[in-house]
Each structure stands twice: as structure tokens, then as C-alpha cells.
Amino acid sequence: MAYNIVVLAKQVPDTKAVTGKAMNDDGTVNRSALPAIFNPEDLNALELALQIKDDNPGTKITMMTMGLPSACEVLRQGMYRGADRMILVTDRRAAASDTLATSYILSCAVKKLGKVDMVICGRQAIDGDTAQVGPQCAEKLDIPQITYVQELLDLKDQTITIKRSVGAGWEKVQCQLPVVLTVLDTANIPRPVAARKMMKFKKAHSAMELAKADKADLADALKAKGLLIEEWNLDHIEADLQWCGRDGSPTKVNRIQSVVLAASGHKKIEPTEQGLRDMIHELIEDHTIG
């Protein structure tokens, strides 16, 4: 059976590439110093969608991201691996959205797509680590959600069975479509970029990207080849502006602290059962582990 799947992906600063320049003096992230990448767990989400597509011919995968035109890169990356459609949700009025506003905007965009069987995203993004957007989207779409997805056990007609992580164990969950899934990085190994698709879709751009590069006149030609990335703004997705951007974001950042960890002295642990036990106990006490 063919399904309509939306993969929500986010472009994030590569926090693994952190250098001394990663923080501004005021404690905010210096985005220009970090390479922008496809949020890793969103790649796992895309892989799950692609596996469903492999097993269910006719399935369509729409890549959707919210952000600046530069975020089109994650949409292209999705197409390189086998997605079918690219939508950039972008609007100045969406700036400074917290997770609540973001999930509202994304849910409006998903609704605009019409019938969708599955909305799949990564568990969380490496820049915020909130793990809130997926579940909030499900609430706003008023459909079930299965979070922490480890494995798709079965998908038959409109019934999906999932193995999800509950931390110290697994839970087997079944529900009816449509559903929102948030996927763990342990769920699969994302497939590599397919070179031929890359050679084709590297030429895909959105109208705003073209305008920035002074190539707005190419839009029609790209559209004819299926290479024009759709841009949707808040009016297009019929979002209520009071729930978007700064106005729609109750999260207020009180203070950002730049924490510098400095080693001070060292401690010798005896290589005995008791020595190890004491060390583990101490680490649990100060919440380093556990």
C-alpha cells in the first residue's frame, strides 16, 4: 500500500565541530563558526521513511523544514537519498519561534498538505536537545504519537506496530494511522547519498535562494524540471500570527552562561572492587551518571 509521509528535518549547527570560536562573547552560539548540517536523528527519520517507501511502492516522501533559505540544503540532502518533494517553510514573522511556535507552524504546514499517513522526525535536534517539536506537532494535529522509535515491527494497511525505547527496556506499541513518529539514532544506519540523484538535485533551489544569487530568472526553468523548491510562508499555511514567532513563544531565555570546565587536581582510584564501587557511588551522588 502506498503512503504519504512527511519527514520534518532541521538544519543545525554541527555541535561536534565546536572550536574556541563557537560561542560569541555574549554567550550565544556563533552560527557562522559552525558548519550547518542535517540534524543527525532527522536522517534516521528519513531512513525509516525510505525503508517504508522501499517496501511500499508508490509511497511519497515530502521533506519539510522550517528556516532560512539556507536550510534548503537539508531538503536537497533528503532528495539525494530518495525523498520526492521539498517544502521550505520560511517567513520573517516566524523568527525567534520556540518549540511551541515551531510545532504550531509545522503542524499548519502539514495540514496544508492534505491527507498524510505518517509524520516522521528525529527524536531531538542537537542544537536544543528539547525533543519537544515532534510530540507537540502530534498534539496540534490531534493524531497519535509514538516517540523514541527503535524499530518498525509491522505496517499493514492503516495499522502500525512499533518497538519504542523506554530507557531501560522496550515497549511494543500499535496504533492506527495517521501517526507522528520520533526516531532514535540507534534505529538504523542512514543510507548514503545516491550520486545520480545528487547530480540532479544539487541544482534544486528555492525562489529566495535564486534571488539571493541574482538568478531569479531561472525559477521557471527549474520548476519545469521539478527542481524548484516550494516556499511556503505563514499566510500560505494559514497560520494564526499570534501563535508564531516571538509572540507565539512563551519560552523566555533568562540567562546564558558560558561554562568552562577546568580540571583541578586529580584523584587516585584504587584498582579494586571497592575502589570502583566508591567511584561509581560518587559519580551517582554528583549526578555525573545515573
Binding site: 561536534k16 547519498v193 545520480r196 545528487m198
Partner: protein
Amino acid sequence: MANFYTDNDDIRFLFRHYQLRTLADLMEGDYSDAQKYDSAPENADDAVDNYERILDVIGQISGDNIAPRAEGIDLEGNHLNDDGTVTLSQGMQENLKDLGQADMMAFTLPHRFGGLNCPNLVYTMSNEIVSRADASLMNIYGLQGIGETINAFATEEQKRQWLPGFAEGEFTGAMVLTEPDAGSDLQAVKLRADMDADGNWYLNGVKRFITNGCGEVLLVLARSEHDRAGGLGLSMFVCGRGPTVKIRRLENKMGIKGSPTCEMVFNNTPCDLVGERRRGLVEYVMSLMNGARIGIAAQSLGISEATYRIARDYGSSRVQFGTPIENFPAVRELMVGMKMEIEVARSLSYEACWNVDHENYVLIKLAEGIEDKDKLKEFKQASKRLKRINGMMTPLSKYYASEMCNRVTYDAIQVLGGSGFMKDYACERHARDARITSIYEGTSQLQVLAAVRGVCGTGEKYLLEKEEFPYPAEVKDLLDILKAGREKMTEAIAFVKAQPGTEYMDLAGRRLCDVAIMLIVSHLFLQQSVAEPKWNDAFCQSDKDGRNAYQELKKRKSIIANKYIRTNEAKINMLLDDIMRGDRSTITEYALIAGDVPEL
């Protein structure tokens, strides 16, 4: 997140050193494929951009996916099933799936068969990158010449039957040549090909030491003319895997254990003739030679790069006598020796690829037919010239890179000391994988034999061409050393040619080849140290802090060129003096030195 392309500055440097737009023009012609296939490039810039993106993808797959599986594959090996089929190790299956999904299994095939239509130079870069992650994978990934052979010589129908399967990642291939009594000497092949009354061909016989003999597409060299001994009785056939082809044995090898080396039995196996009868060995197998030799050179490079990096990490972190061991001159000598040898092999091999890409283009154009008489003459001349150059450069590359690989894997273990001897470090695996490189696809001795005639024939001319490069005045003293070396080499060649018979040329062969390699690579290094980049992207532009990666690497190359040329000046003189002594005692006093020769 490891990427074996982006972390390799030398490959990235050379990517920009060569004028890849020229190769793109050769591969893509008038770029009209862009109208028919949406992945085909629209112009040279588009094509070169594709090449680098492809290398980036294969670098990422190699670093993140393939390399972590290599140890497990080496331990597990492959499995021979009771029904004569083979099950590849789990890791190898995953590797092939990744490469198939990434569209990398038809790297050089044309767009119309789903290929990437990349030049050999870019394929060779990818081959090194893959080999660095797992040398044994190269024995399957690097067999893409099978598709190329089908594309060059098979009928349109055969091409349609076999080639898209490579592009889809469903097929891998095998070159089924060697037999128990036909190793280096393929003219002795016995496997029978017989045609029935309806014109159908069938194969019967045994093949041995067949890399990936369990692959889906088998190109088989067989004797179709039973009244004819020697190479002219052999034809090339293609067949698929099936119940009449059984794997009888999987070899238990020292290295490249992920690559299944098969003994195969053909029992009335239906097959198709490829091209024309009697041209199997003399034309079709020979046409594979350049690619096969460069393939092993790339594999050697990959193994060496992998093991060198471990040695470097170890040398900089292992503390003895209160300091990292790489602070000791004796260890530095090992490190610098390894690093420079790798770059010598890389430069030599890429130069060979550059010429092979040009020769392939000329051959395709000649095969398509050229009407204009002058143009035809020009292409025929180019074909002759390139054939001569490649007849020298590809065996030199294979010879040097594989011997280098054995030296580098030996020295890497030396840096690690006792730890290197243990299986805890991959250096041990690399040393085992390295050993075959100077043996298969023609031993080093056969490569020298093939190359030395080229060195004695076209070598001097090739070096004279290199001397015409517009070098700046400041490298004049280095250039003078190279000119003196070339003149002395010419003198030594004349001496060798003046000796009776060809025996002395064969005896002096290795030494002559070594000299030729030193002189050729000296020019390549020198050019790298003075030439501006041909692909001007961010890598070649200064960043905010004024750093320019390309210019820094270029400066580094000038230090390497200087060191290489000055160090080898004495070596070249020594080798040539030795040749011109005319000492034949290795041949004439053989029994006295080595012991009596038993009668067979």
C-alpha cells in the same frame, strides 16, 4: 564522522592540480547527454563539481561505514556453501549495499546505462579512498573494468543485458582468466568453449584464483579454437552465475580475506561470445591491463595511507624516554620516508590515469570512426603516442605503488614496535593485505619487464617533454640536476642496448625503472610546487585569517620536491653507474652463487 576524502589534503590538492575540466570534456563531449539524462552535467564546471561531490560521498561512506567493518570482515572471511555458491561476510554485503545505494558501482560507465561517466583519474581517487577503508573491498569495487570491457567490446544487446545491473548495484563481476597452469602465462589457458549446431556457446573446465568468481557477471577467457595453441586460440565470453557454475573451493589466504578467491568449475555453462573470436586475450584482456594495473596501484595507495596514519598517531602519542617517539630522528626518518613514498606513488599513478583517460578517449573516437583524413591521422598518431606512454606509465605505477605498499606497511609496524606485531592494531592486517599487491595482476618482475622497454624507448622523450614545462627561474638548479640525470639515463640506455641480446636489458630492468620513476616523479613534484590551481574553489582561496590551504600545500610540495630531487641525485648516479659496469655475473655465475641448477 570520518571522511576519507576531505581529510586527505594530498588528494584534494591533486584534484585541483589537474585540469579536470579537460577530462570532463573528453568524457562528456558536447554535453548533450544533459538533455537526455537529468544526472548528466551541463558543462565542464558542472562535471568537475560532480566529481568532487562524488568523492565527498565515497569519502564519507568509506570513513563512516566501510572502515569500521574491515576488522570484522577480515576475521569472518567468506563462506562456501554445499551447493557451490558463496555467501560473502556480513560486512562485505553491507559494504556492497552501501556502494550500490550510492550509485558507485558504475563509476565510469556512460550515463545511458545509469553510470556516473567519471574519468579514470577520479575513479582511481575513489579506489584509493575505498581501499584505505578496506583493501579487500577494492577487489570487488575495483573490478568495474568488467563493465567497461563489456561497454567497449560487447554488442548493444549484451550491454543492455548486463550494464544496468552494475549501475543498480545488483551485479558485481569477475575476470575469469587464471587456471592452474595458466597464471602469468595466460596463453596457456585450456578451459574449453564449444559451439553447438545452433550457434550456442558452452564452457567446460576449471578456473583458479578467481577474485569474486561468485559474482553475477563472469567474463571468461576460454579456448574456442581447439586447433590453435597460444593466445590466438582464445576468445572472451560472458555468462551469469547459475547452476552450471560451481565454486569448488575458496582459497585460505594471508590477506584481503574479505575478497572471495574462487576455484570454479564450468559444466556445460551457456555463454555469449564477446566481440570477435580469437581476440579474447590479444585485444580484450590486454585492453583491461592499464585499468587493472592502476587499480592495484590505487589499492596499494589506500592500504599505505591507512597504515601510515596509524603509525603517525602512534609515533606522536607513544612516550618513551620522556618524549613521544616521533621526536627521535630515527623515527622521523621512517615517518618522512613513508609519507613521501606514498606521495610519489600517488603522483605517478595519477599521471598514468591522466594519460589513460586521454588514450581511452582517442580509442573511442577511432572506434566510432573519423571521416576527416587529417583528423584521423592526428588521432592515430595520438593513439600510438599514448599507447607507448601508458605501456610504460601503468606498469611503472603498479610496480612502484605495490612495492611501496609493502615497504610502508613494514615500516608502520616498525614504528609501533611490539604493539605493531600484535593484532590489536590494524597495521598487522594492512601488512597482510599489502603482500598480494606486488604479486597479482602481474608481479613486480613482470611489470618491470613490461615497463623497461618503454623506458628504453619512450622514456627519454617523455622526460624531454616534461622539461619543456614553463618552470620559473628559481628552480633552475633542481632542473639542472634532472637534466643531468636524464642525459646519464640516455647514456645508460644506449649502453644496455649495445649489449648482445635482451638479457642484459632485463637484468638492468628494475634499476632502469627505478631511475625513470625518480626522474618522472621529480618533474611531477616540481610542477606541483609551482603550478596554480585549475579549480578555484574555497580550498584555493584565502580565508578570513589569510590562510590558503592550496598555497600552503604548494609550498609544502616545493620542500618535498627539493628533498626528493637532491636525495635521489646520488641514487640515480649510483644505479646508472652500476648498470654501465655491465656486470652480468647474476646470469653468468648463477650456479656458482645460487647453487647448482637441478635438471627438470
